[in-house]
């Protein structure tokens, strides 16, 4: 028995899987057509305050250009950005999209946090037995839908708060070929520097533009006198900026929350420096 090759059988694949995937990508491109710049906020390490920095940047930029900023919380398993931005409530599905939820300063927010029960983890309906087969594909699919199916509208800036690690920046770059670049967040320690450096070099390998580094929890700000004292040892922000030849956008000290309410605020100099590199 002899067989023709796939391409020699001239009829199209009856399922049109390639066309379906192509249509998914087109939806992302069309939806983001009215968004000026998409910028990822990333780190190689958890607990460095990526979501805090994302929210702080969004609020800082939003105060300068009201209504022009969106935040996509791409940390599906530990979403925190929506709450920091004061975005909560039900999500409205209208026509071909869902509406983002408005947060502080009119920032348009979408997050898995809006879809989950309070305090409950992200649970997929699929049986748990073969999670390794489909979990990554579902997470990428969810990120794709958050980009394409949320009516972001006309935005100057969409910040994407990525989870720790390097996998999602690759997914994002695949989905958003016009990605303006990535901001890296680190804390001052050597451990953080090493983890973040690996992730940044992976991003460089993928030709993702590194826009700058922000060192978070860079000292402790006294809530009485405002002076900044030491918190962590190290100089990771400066070293990463030097080693990867990117600007250090600034250092943000740890601030105690008042009444347990997190109010993401970054020094004006960081917001200005950020606007300088994305403009």
């Amino acid at each position: 028995m002899t067989f023709r090759t796939y391409r020699e059988v001239l009829g199209r694949d009856r399922s049109g899987l390639a066309e379906q995937v192509g249509a998914q990508r087109t939806r992302v491109t069309e939806r983001l057509g009215s968004v000026g710049r998409v910028v990822a906020v990333m780190s190689g390490k958890g607990g460095v305050g990526k979501s805090y920095v994302t929210a702080g940047l969004a609020i800082g930029v939003g105060r300068r250009c009201a209504g022009a900023v969106g935040v996509l919380d791409a940390d599906l398993n530990a979403p925190t950005a929506a709450r920091m931005l004061g975005a909560s409530g039900r999500v409205i599905v209208r026509d071909d999209a869902v509406e983002p939820v408005l947060g502080i300063e009119g920032i348009r927010v979408f997050s898995m946090d809006l879809l989950l029960e309070e305090g409950q983890p992200l649970r997929w309906r699929e049986p748990d037995g073969e999670r390794f087969v489909w979990r990554g594909a579902l997470e990428t699919g969810a990120l794709r839908e958050f980009l394409s199916d949320v009516r972001w509208g006309s935005l100057d800036l969409l910040l994407v708060d990525l989870p720790p690690g390097s996998a999602q920046i690759h997914d994002l770059a695949e989905l958003v070929p016009d990605l303006a670049g990535a901001i890296a967040v680190t804390i001052p320690t050597e451990e953080s520097r090493r983890a973040v450096e690996r992730t940044l070099r992976a991003a460089v390998d993928r030709d993702i533009t590194l826009l700058g580094v922000i060192e978070n929890m860079s000292g402790y700000e006294c809530d009485g006198c405002g002076s900044v004292g030491p918190l962590f040892e190290g100089n990771a922000g400066q070293r990463l900026a030097h080693d990867l030849d990117v600007p250090l956008l600034g250092r943000s000290p740890f601030r105690k929350s008042t009444d347990g309410v997190v109010s993401p605020t970054l020094p004006d100099g960081i917001v200005d420096a950020f606007l300088g590199v994305v403009s």
């Binding site: 023709r4 059988v9 899987l17 409205i92 599905v93 026509d95 869902v98 879809l115 037995g129 489909w134």
Partner: protein, 150 residues
Amino acid sequence: MKFLCVDCDEQMDFAERALPGDGTFAAAFICPQCGRKVAMLANPMESQLVGALGVKIGGRTLDEQPLELVRSTVAGREDALVDHDPAPASTGQRLPRWSPAAEERLQRVPSFVRGMVKRIYGEYAADRGISEITPAVMDTARTDLGLEGM
């Protein structure tokens, strides 16, 4: 993936799909020349992987719904989403009625996905000039549209 009828050397057409149980995904293909049918059975891992890509074996018959993949795969908060039914005047076509039995069945769908499922059945019926959605229409639509998992 293409299916070739060896006797006729013809590419087979997609015929139907189903989820017969235990996570198996079944798709039937038919030879346009001799009418021979074959079934492709994907094991649960293969079914889940294809499902996770948000694509439909046999092709799409309806536009992708907003957050379709997330809503059909995430066990989300019941009241997280509010679906706005399109007003009849804005769509330019009469929306099909829901029979009481069909409404009752719809109420058994988790509310996280209920609005999307209702919209899909509504569009299916409207496209085919069906004026009333009954459980029988829902059964047919489920098979036609590959909604067995919903």
